[in-house]
Amino acid sequence: MSSESPIVYQLGHLPIKDHVFSPDRGLLAITKDNEVEVYQVSSNLSVRPKLFTTLKGHDKTVTSVDISPDGTRILTCSQDRNALVWEFDGQDYKPTLVLLRINRAATVCKWSPNGQKFAVGSSDRVIAICYYEAENDWWVSKHLKKPLKSTITSLSWHPNNVLIASGSTDGHVRVFSSFIKGIDEKPEPTVWGSKLPFQTLCGDFINETGAWIHDVSFSPDGDSLGFVSHDSTIGIIYPEGEGLPPKSIINVKTEYLPFKSFVFLTNNKLVVGGHNCNLIVFEGDESDWKESFKVESQKDLINDVPVHGNGDEDDEEISSHQALNMFKQMDLKGRVNKPTNGAGGSKALTTIHQNTIASIKLFSANKVSTSGIDGKVVIFTV
C-alpha cells in the first residue's frame, strides 16, 4: 500500500474529463465544459494550484487536452469538430486552428513523443495525423481511414513516433503507421513491423466480448500493447513479429465496474481506474497478469472495509451528494439537517474520487495523477 497520502485538488464540481501536467509539472491543464483551465502548480504539491488562465476557443464540450513534450504548446480538441494548438506569447495563450477535415466530434488528442506531430481521434471514423507545414504556416492533417468504421475512443503513440495504437467502439484495437515523409525519419524495425508507409495496418485485435475499448497504451518499451474495455477486462497483447500471430494475448477478467483509463508504470506493471472510483495495480508478463493491490481500501457491495474517519477533507463547500441528501430530507420530512461531517456522513464512497475516474496519467516514477467526474484531480503514490 502507498506510504504517502494522496494529494487532492478539488477544482470545482464540474466533470474533468481529461487533465494533463506539463513535463516539468509546473502547469496543470484540465477540461471543463467548453473551456480548458490552466493552473500553476507549486513545487510544494500540497499547495492548491493557482488558476493561471482559461482557454476559451471551443463552442462544445472539450474532450481531450495534451501538452507538448517540450511544454510550450497545449493541444485541445472538442465535440465542435476542431482541435486547437495554444502557444504562449509571454502574456497569454493564443490558439491556432488545425485543419482536421472531420465532420463529427473530435474525441481524443495526443502529441507524439518528440512533439513534431499529434493525432486526433474522432467519431468520424478517422484518425487525423497532424503536423506543421512551414510554407503555409498552418497545422495540416493526413487521415488514417481504413479499416476504421467506428468512433475512436483512445490513442497511444509508440516511442518511435511512427506507430500509433487506437481503440474504438467496435471492440477493436489497431496499430497503424503514421509515417509522414519529410517529418519522420525512417524508424528502426520493431516487433510491429519493418516497412511502414503511411496507413500501414500493423495489427488488428478484437477483445473477446466486442465491448467498447476505453483506453489503449503501448508499454514503455513499445513491445506490447495494453487496453481496457467496457466488459471490465484488461488486455495485453504481445506481438511475435511482422505477419505472425501474437505471442500471447492476455485477457484479465476482473470483478469490478469497467475501467476508463490506465497507465503502464513499467513494462510489467500497470494501474487502472474507472467507474469503480479506485485505482488498482496489476502486475505480470507475457505468461499472465494478476491483480496485485488496490491503491485505496474500498467498501463496495461485496467487500466491506472499515471507514477511516478522515477529518481533513478537501471540500469547503458541501458535495453534490450532501446537497441531494439535504433536498431529500427537506422533501420527506420538511426540515433541513446540516450534513454531518466525518466518517460515512460526508462521503458516499470510501474512496477519494466520488465518481468515475476519467483519466490517469503518469506523474513521476511512482506517482500517478487522476482526474474524475467529481471535479477532483488527485496525485496518488503507488
Binding site: R104, D170, T209, S232, K253, T254, E255, L257, L301, I302
Partner: protein, 155 residues
C-alpha cells in the same frame, strides 16, 4: 436557413457504415440438433444425480450464433438444470456449485440468469432465479454483470 442538424450525414458515405452483422463475433453457428443433443445429455446427467457435470455441460456451448428459437431452447435446458439443482440441495450448497465453475462459465451463468428472468416461466420461479443470482454475485463480484451488459455474444 436549412436545419443542418437534421441532415443525415451518414447518407453521404454509406460505405463507412458498420452493419449489425459486422458487429457479431466471429464464431461458428450452433445448429438445432447440437442443442437437442446437449439437452438430452443434460437430462441423463441430472437423472444420474451428476448435477455439476450437467451444469458445466449446459454452460459449455452457449449458442451465440443461432436463431432465437435455438437460443430459447437452450435457455430452457439451463433453467431445468438450475431448478433440478435447487430442488435437490440446500440454498447454501448453491455456492459450492458456483465456486467450481470457471470464470467463463460464471459469466455465461449470469447471462442465462438474466435471460431467464425475461421469460414467463422464469418469472413464475423468480425466487429461485434470484437466489442463484444472489449466490453467484456474492462469489464473482460485479464483473459478470458488466460483461452480460457489454458482451456482443448474447445467449
Amino acid at each position: 436557413m436549412e436545419d443542418w442538424r437534421r441532415i443525415d450525414i451518414d447518407a453521404y458515405e454509406p460505405e463507412n457504415h458498420l452493419s449489425k452483422e459486422e458487429l457479431l463475433p466471429n464464431l461458428p453457428a450452433t445448429s438445432l440438433s447440437e442443442i437437442q443433443t446437449v439437452s438430452k445429455q443434460v437430462r441423463t446427467l441430472l437423472s444420474q444425480g451428476k448435477f455439476l457435470d450437467a451444469l458445466k455441460l449446459g454452460l459449455q456451448y452457449p449458442p451465440y450464433i443461432a436463431s432465437e428459437d435455438i437460443k430459447s431452447l437452450h435457455t430452457e435446458t439451463i433453467f431445468e438444470i438450475l431448478c433440478s439443482i435447487k430442488n435437490n440441495h440446500n440454498l447454501t450448497e448453491l455456492s459450492s456449485f458456483i465456486k467450481q465453475l470457471s470464470s467463463d462459465e460464471q459469466d455465461i451463468l449470469v447471462k442465462y440468469l438474466y435471460k431467464t428472468m425475461n421469460t414467463s416461466y422464469g418469472q413464475k420461479q423468480g425466487g429461485l432465479i434470484l437466489s442463484w443470482y444472489e449466490k453467484t454475485v456474492e462469489i464473482t463480484g460485479l464483473g459478470p454483470i458488466v460483461r452480460f451488459l457489454s458482451d456482443r455474444r448474447t445467449v
